[in-house]
């Protein structure tokens, strides 16, 4: 049993840990840079495609539209080219060379605003005079080294006398390459190659490229996840069904990237031993909130697009919600520490045990002995008679549970108990309280809104129990305004949590919506965002269910209980951490 619990617990932790796995679908905070190097007859053709994630669009926009006329003019593009060239290291035969600008194409200003940021630059580098001998071309891209994902495709043109002899590239980063090439017409090429053996150690990957080789171009689908959706929208290939299915799948995968309340859902359900329906509910609330927040932000962002770039809004929103999350985290930790928040009391106090048509007597854990006298006396004939006279169904002796199983400081336990008792008294159905806790009476008096209830410190005999019952019976018909919550208070707690989890803006979904808005396909965009959110919800529900299910399996073991006692504190810490991360990550913008 012990092994099993360890196994399942680690399963849950792994599930929670998936958050740290690099995100496949998160392309919005990255810049993709594809370099093409082609050996043409006229020289080396260099193409540079920059595909900036939405969050960088703003940055590129500022460089591209220097004159702020909202049009990318020739001058703008040339200035941008200078900026790009400055980030390149180009050498032929160890001599620095400058590329000649040969043209550019890029997305429109409106597309940039919507978050679709694509620029393609073309250059020509002339061959050296002495092309007869074996030459080397060195290329290195130092642009955005921190955030960029580089790819390189190299080829020589079929039929051209210029051919590649070998290339040595940085296989991991794909940001630099040394290409050895020569004029095939020249006869002494082979000899020279053998005379100049490679100085590099053998381990270095040396790729022999056939002259007719296809460019090692990374396929378009490299634009995985949301970017793929955007591309589909953009290119107009709109098979509605395919798009929706795609959106659901991507939304599902997307849930496993950082954020999205997944860990929140998990931690909550673990700590509070949630039920399957709560897992389902939480998933649905997160989805609805998520969809709604994207609609709202999407609407705001596209309306405000001329004043603020979405790429500026998103980080600001993330910081704002980061601050909110930190506040929620600190608040919940504080509430827990001072005992306002308790393991179950606030979430599942099971108040339905109180019965409106019964005399309800609370006996707290410190006075269990007293309950026995009450139990015995409550069965006496005189009590039954008076119950009938008063029109009550019976005597209901309730306990908020023992304290022996709680792992919490005495002060917190005291506060928890007080809170539990007050929650019950608030219903208006409590007729008497038996509690050894001396502070309880004072605390209840301080809270004026509470109905007045007699508190007995203890009952030491059936005579005292009888006196309590007599008092309670006599007041039974004076009580009014009873409201006993049906389902406990769990949903009260669950809904704000789901909203907090779903409201964190998700740039990818926002991007989808913004692009479809900018392309005039608003309805489609809204539909896709909904489908995307549905996939997200499916993932959250799945995670929730897994946790609930494994929770059920391990809940019987004492080791788990010890951990479970501390989990709420961890989840509060986690919230604070998440919030701080969100702020730090975005404050640099």
């Amino acid at each position: 049993m012990h092994n099993k619990s360890v196994f399942i617990l680690s399963l849950v932790l792994i599930l929670l840990g998936i958050t740290s796995v690099p995100a496949f679908c998160h392309i919005n905070d990255e810049v993709a840079m594809r370099t093409g190097i082609f050996f043409e007859d006229e020289g080396i053709a260099l193409t540079l495609e920059i595909d900036a994630g939405m969050l960088f669009g703003q940055y590129y926009l500022e460089i591209l539209d220097l004159d702020r006329d909202e049009i990318f003019g020739t001058e703008d593009v040339q200035k941008f080219s200078e900026f790009v060239v400055a980030g390149l290291r180009l050498r032929i035969n160890d001599l620095k060379v400058l590329p000649e600008f040969a043209g550019a194409s890029c997305a429109s200003f409106e597309e940039f605003v919507a978050g679709f940021c694509y620029i393609k630059l073309c250059y020509i580098i002339p061959y050296p005079e002495d092309l007869d001998r074996v030459c080397t071309f060195y290329y290195e891209n130092c642009l955005e080294a921190e955030i960029a994902i580089y790819s390189l495709s190299i080829s020589d043109t079929a039929g051209s006398p210029i051919s590649i002899i070998k290339e040595e590239r940085n296989e991991i980063l794909q940001d630099s390459v040394t290409i050895t090439f020569s004029n095939a017409a020249s006869t002494d090429v082979q000899a020279e190659v053998t005379q100049q053996p490679s100085q590099e150690p053998v381990e270095v990957a040396v790729v022999e490229v056939e002259s007719k080789a296809q460019p090692v171009m990374l396929p378009e689908t490299e634009l995985a996840g949301s970017a793929m959706l955007i591309n589909r929208l953009k290119t107009g290939e709109v098979n509605f069904l395919v798009l929706i299915v795609l959106a659901v799948v991507i939304g599902f995968l997307h849930a496993f990237t950082p954020g999205h309340g997944k860990s929140l859902v998990g931690a909550y359900l673990v700590a509070n031993r949630g039920t399957a329906s709560q897992a389902l509910g939480l998933g649905l609330i997160v989805t609805l909130t998520h969809t709604a927040s994207i609609y709202v932000f999407g609407g705001l962002a596209s309306a405000a697009a001329y004043f603020f770039m979405p790429s500026k809004i998103v980080p600001v929103m993330t910081v704002v919600s980061g601050v909110l999350v930190v506040i929620i985290g600190i608040w919940s930790a504080v509430r827990r520490l001072i005992g306002l928040e308790v393991d179950h009391a606030h979430i599942l106090p099971n108040l339905k045990v109180l019965k409106e048509d019964h005399i309800n007597i609370l006996v707290d854990g410190s006075a269990v002995e007293s309950s026995e006298f009450l139990i015995i006396e409550a069965e006496e004939d005189w009590v039954q008679k008076q119950l009938q006279a008063a029109g009550a169904e019976g005597i209901n002796i309730c306990s908020p549970g023992c304290e022996t199983h709680n792992f919490m400081p005495a002060i917190a336990a005291e506060r928890q108990n007080t809170q539990l008792v007050m929650t019950a008294v608030e219903t208006g159905a409590v007729d008497a309280i038996v509690s050894r806790r001396s502070g309880l009476a004072e605390k209840m008096q301080n809270k004026k809104s509470l109905p007045n209830v007699d508190i007995y410190l203890s009952l030491d005999s059936r005579i005292e129990a009888a006196e309590l019952l007599r008092q309670a019976l006599s007041k039974y018909n004076d009580r009014d305004g009873i409201t006993i919550p049906e389902e406990g208070l769990s949903w009260k707690k669950l809904i704000p949590l789901g909203i907090a989890g779903g409201a964190v803006p998700c740039p990818d979904a926002l991007a989808i919506l913004l692009v479809s808005v900018s392309l005039g396909r608003v309805a489609l965009g809204l539909g896709i965002v909904f489908a995307f959110s549905t996939g997200l919800a499916a993932a959250l529900v799945l995670i929730g269910m897994t946790i609930v299910f494994s929770n059920k399996l391990i809940s019987g073991t004492s080791g788990y209980r010890k951990i479970a006692g501390f989990l709420p504190y961890f989840s509060a810490l986690f919230l604070i951490g998440l919030g701080v991360y969100m702020i730090i990550n975005n404050i640099g913008f």
């Binding site: 339905k352 026995e372 009450l374 306990s399 709680n406 019950a424």
Partner: protein
């Protein structure tokens, strides 16, 4: 209606004695509730219920749905309200297995802290014990673990006799002193000692001299019939004349 609780150190013969007493009471024409409150229940065997019947008994504490229905709380959930006075009136009649006048009820093991909260289950058992001892109209004999953990003061007061079984040895006598101290605190008025596995007058005198401050209800001989009955699944009360007469003698002294 007599309420009798049997306690004593493990292995002294509580269950053996309880089964004899239950049969003796039933023999007088009383309806007897035989309550097995031992976590390792063996009273059913001693009373002569068939292995098949026994295998189909569920201890009250394991009746999860019943407990949830009556206490309003799920087992294992702490920090949530539950009813401390669940309705238990119907349980002795409804959930016991019967043989003649004898109604056997298996309580099951009351859980302590560390294994999660057992408040609801424990409330159920406590209420049931309280009901059996205080309100039940018929005779009740309870075979207990060792001490009196199922009882509070209100219930203890209703016990007509607490029978502490001892053997002629200092360990079971020391334990008996502990139990009677606890019982005294709880307010049990009548405490009787039964000497079991007594082999001759020397053993009897040993117990008498070491427990001179107790009411000794009587002795039962060390007799192979006890082991034979256990082995064969037979009823000791029926197969051993000696045991029968000694328990009937003890019964007279108790009441």
């Amino acid at each position: 209606m007599k309420k009798i609780a049997v306690c004593g150190k493990g292995g002294v013969g509580k269950t053996t004695f309880a089964s004899l007493l239950i049969h003796a009471l039933a023999d007088e024409g009383r309806t007897v509730y035989a309550i097995d409150a031992d976590p390792n229940p063996t009273l059913a065997e001693a009373l002569g219920f068939s292995a098949d019947t026994i295998s189909r008994i569920t201890p009250i504490i394991e009746m999860k749905t019943l407990i949830e229905e009556r206490t309003g709380a799920k087992s294992g959930e702490y920090g949530s309200y539950f009813k401390m006075n669940p309705t238990v009136k119907d349980i002795p009649a409804e959930y016991s297995v019967k043989k003649g006048n004898i109604n056997y009820l298996m309580m099951g093991c009351m859980r302590g802290a560390g294994k999660g909260c057992a408040c609801a289950e424990n409330a159920m058992l406590r209420s049931l014990v309280t009901h059996l001892m205080v309100k039940e109209k018929e005779t009740v004999v309870m075979d207990m673990v060792a001490g009196t953990e199922h009882m509070g003061r209100g219930t203890a007061k209703a016990v007509d006799s607490l029978i502490v079984v001892v053997e002629p040895g200092i360990r079971s006598i020391k334990a008996a002193r502990e139990f009677s101290k606890m019982a005294g605190v709880l307010g049990i008025k009548n405490i009787h000692v039964v000497g079991n596995k007594v082999n001759g007058l020397d053993d009897e005198n040993y117990i008498k001299s070491n427990m001179s401050d107790f009411k000794i209800a009587g002795f039962m001989p060390l007799n192979s019939s006890a082991v034979i009955a256990e082995r064969q699944g037979a009823v000791l009360f029926e197969i051993s004349q000696k045991m029968r007469s000694s328990v009937q003698n003890i019964m007279k002294n108790i009441f």
